[in-house]
């Protein structure tokens, strides 16, 4: 017995949200690694542009995962539930 019907595919919106969350985890890990090995700045204070760019990407993704992803996920879920409920009633 399977919980997921055969041939079922997750909606594209769910996949997109999942990819954003996954990307956030990966970029956080890459950023942490880059700051450990190269640092944001050299000991003399020169910025490492690549690491800083990774940091900007990490923060943008964190904002997306913190605010956009849960809002969109809940909203889509509610709309889908309402549609399903409406179809059954009809």
């Amino acid at each position: 017995m399977s919980l997921v019907p055969s041939g079922w595919r997750p909606p594209r919106s769910v996949v997109t949200l999942g990819v954003i969350v996954l990307l956030d985890l990966v970029v956080d890990a890459l950023f942490a690694h880059a700051t450990r090995t190269a640092g944001l700045l050299s000991p003399g204070g020169k910025p490492h542009v690549g690491v800083l760019a990774l940091g900007v990407a990490a923060i943008v993704l964190r904002l997306a995962v913190g605010f956009v992803v849960p809002t969109v996920a809940v909203a889509l879920g509610v709309v889908r539930l309402a549609e399903r409920f409406g179809t059954r009633r009809r």
Binding site: D28, P43, G55, L63, G66, T71, A75, G77
Partner: protein
């Protein structure tokens, strides 16, 4: 618009509202889940960040032993070593069982902040006059209070602190006491003709901690400094500390600002609890919040300005330094709800990362982590 279309739009609106509601509850909860542990002085939490800074100091020692072309020196390095010493000392005070292990680490970081290469920026500003070599001078050299405070806490905690540096420290503190008592404004210069009340708060903190380390009575100079802070250095409208002033006439050379107030409140806490609390209340009054996340404004109402080396970036009116440094006074003076909101912002933008037994805020770099260590453990250092 048909009834079906209207119903669809209504469902979509309700769905978005529900989504926002869930985000309003869940996201601050996730971002603030460590705030309570920091507030309650969780030893595991504090030691995890402490281990990161201890490892940084060890790496820094190793780098110094090699013929590198670039050295970690100057103003940022000075503050990094100073804040590491202060943070570790606060943990040792809060958890006395850690004192024997942490005291030598406090001394190591404090002694590095004391090095001549760290204060080179100040020596250059005074035309080559070194703060340590000119204790008989009337020049303020207030920037040197940062390492003097670090050395003070190391002397307070570490019975094996080197005697030669302790003698130098005594001379520096005596100079600061004499200069502050002679000042008509309670201010002394950081650079020629310029005084920063925040640096003067660090001077007061260094004097106060010297008293705790040696038993010397500095109550007269500290009481005088506290009176001057309230009378001339705090802006009557905003409660913020004026960022830069003339040391002889106490005229404002810059606006009252959040960054100077937040760091000043932390330093003031070592010397005078009431003054520090007054500054902290000004920070709370200038807290901007959104969706359960808060940050501290750099300027009071009606003023605007760009970020600089003191404030860091100013985005939507709030500054990185004011926000990060506010955590210390908010924790120390028991503003729990405000601490939690500001901490959530730190967690969101700081990108905390755990490596085995160590935790660090990835966007902070060494200076950010050292400052957060001092701020997130602030409290045990407060003046009685």
């Amino acid at each position: 618009m048909t009834g079906v279309t209207r119903a669809r739009w209504a469902i979509r609106l309700v769905a978005v509202a529900l989504g926002l509601l869930v985000t309003r509850v869940a996201t601050p909860w996730v971002a603030g889940r460590w705030a309570g542990r920091w507030l309650d002085g969780d030893a595991a939490m504090q030691l995890a960040l402490a281990e990161e800074l201890i490892a940084f100091e060890a790496d820094d020692d190793a780098a110094r032993a090699t013929p590198a072309t670039e050295r970690f020196a100057g103003e940022w390095a000075l503050v990094t070593h100073q804040m590491t010493a202060l943070g570790l000392a606060q943990i040792a005070l809060a958890h006395p069982e850690q004192r024997a292990r942490l005291a030598p680490e406090v001394t190591r970081a404090a002694l590095k902040s004391w090095r001549a290469e760290m204060r080179g920026f100040g020596t250059r500003a005074w035309g080559g006059e070194d703060a340590l070599a000119s204790t008989g001078s009337t020049h303020g050299h207030a920037y040197f209070a940062y390492p003097a405070l670090a050395v003070g806490v190391a002397r307070w905690l570490d019975p094996a602190f080197p005697a030669a540096t302790a003698r130098e420290h005594d001379a520096v503190i005596a100079a600061y006491e004499r200069r502050l008592l002679a000042s008509p404004t309670g201010l002394i210069e950081t650079y020629p003709g310029e005084s920063y009340p925040t640096d003067c708060a660090a001077v007061a903190a260094a004097i106060a901690v010297h008293g705790r380390a040696t038993g010397a009575d500095h109550s007269a100079v500290l009481a005088r400094w506290a009176r001057h802070v309230v009378d001339t250095q705090l802006d009557t409208q905003t409660g913020f500390v004026v960022q830069r002033m003339g040391w002889l006439d106490a005229k404002a050379h810059d606006a009252p600002r959040g960054s100077g107030t937040a760091l000043g409140a932390y330093f003031a806490g070592f010397a005078d609890r009431a003054v520090a609390r007054k500054m902290t209340e000004a920070l709370v009054a200038h807290e901007s919040s959104f969706f359960g996340f808060a940050a501290i404004d750099e300027y009071g109402r009606g003023r605007r300005g760009a970020g600089d080396v003191d404030s860091g970036p100013v985005v939507l009116g709030v500054s990185v330094t004011a926000t990060g440094c506010a955590l210390g006074p908010l924790r120390a003076h028991g503003f729990r709800a405000d601490f939690e909101r500001v901490y959530r912002t730190t967690q969101l933008f700081g990108v905390p990362w755990r490596d085995s037994d160590r935790v660090r805020f990835v966007t902070g770099g060494p200076i950010g982590n050292a400052m957060l260590l001092a701020m997130l453990t602030s409290g045990p250092e407060l003046a009685p």
